[in-house]
Subunit: 105 residues, 2 copies
């Protein structure tokens, strides 16, 4: 479990995954889809960003299999596709909430 020995390919793959979560806008999109199904346009409205920007980010997240898409009529709905990323976000967000005491003294 510990003392991990990753191949260069595995390391790059892992780094790529983190890279997709490293932009605030894109991270917000992922979090918005974390526990709910969301239409592309609704994500854009919710975050106050353009449909175009949303779509660019969604394409990256989709092709990395972090999100998956499902078209129903005119709308395209997005949900989490990666259990691993889902639980990583839960861990980090939980940590943010429990350790929200930035200035103790």
């Amino acid at each position: 479990m510990s003392q991990a020995k990753l191949t260069p390919d595995q390391t790059s793959e892992l780094a790529d995954t983190f890279g997709l979560l490293s932009d605030p806008t894109r991270l917000s999109i992922v979090i918005a889809c974390k526990d709910d199904e969301r239409a592309a346009g609704d994500i854009a409205d919710h975050l106050g960003i353009s449909p175009s920007l949303t779509s660019h980010h969604l394409r990256l997240l989709r092709s990395a299999r972090i999100l998956k898409s499902d078209r129903r009529g005119k709308q395209v709905f997005y949900t989490m596709a990666d259990d691993c990323v889902h639980s990583v976000l839960d861990v980090m967000i939980e940590h943010l909430f429990t350790h929200s005491h930035p200035d103790p003294v």
Copy 2:
């Protein structure tokens, strides 16, 4: 727990943390320090990169409090400073090992 509502600051902070894990070289450094204490020079040797490059990455990881440093004599030893990042790496690496069947058919 779920349905997380993060402030823009929290989202950016989280994105920054992921950003520090998003470069293969830097991620390798973090993983090298994940369960062991490592001197800066040993990390460089282990990864086959220059001391300078190692130090640049270490500075970023240190100032984000992902790693902490401890100088003893000429050497500076680095260890994990963030439990949260530690467990996230464990989750992701575990996932990499259990799902290592890239081309089934």
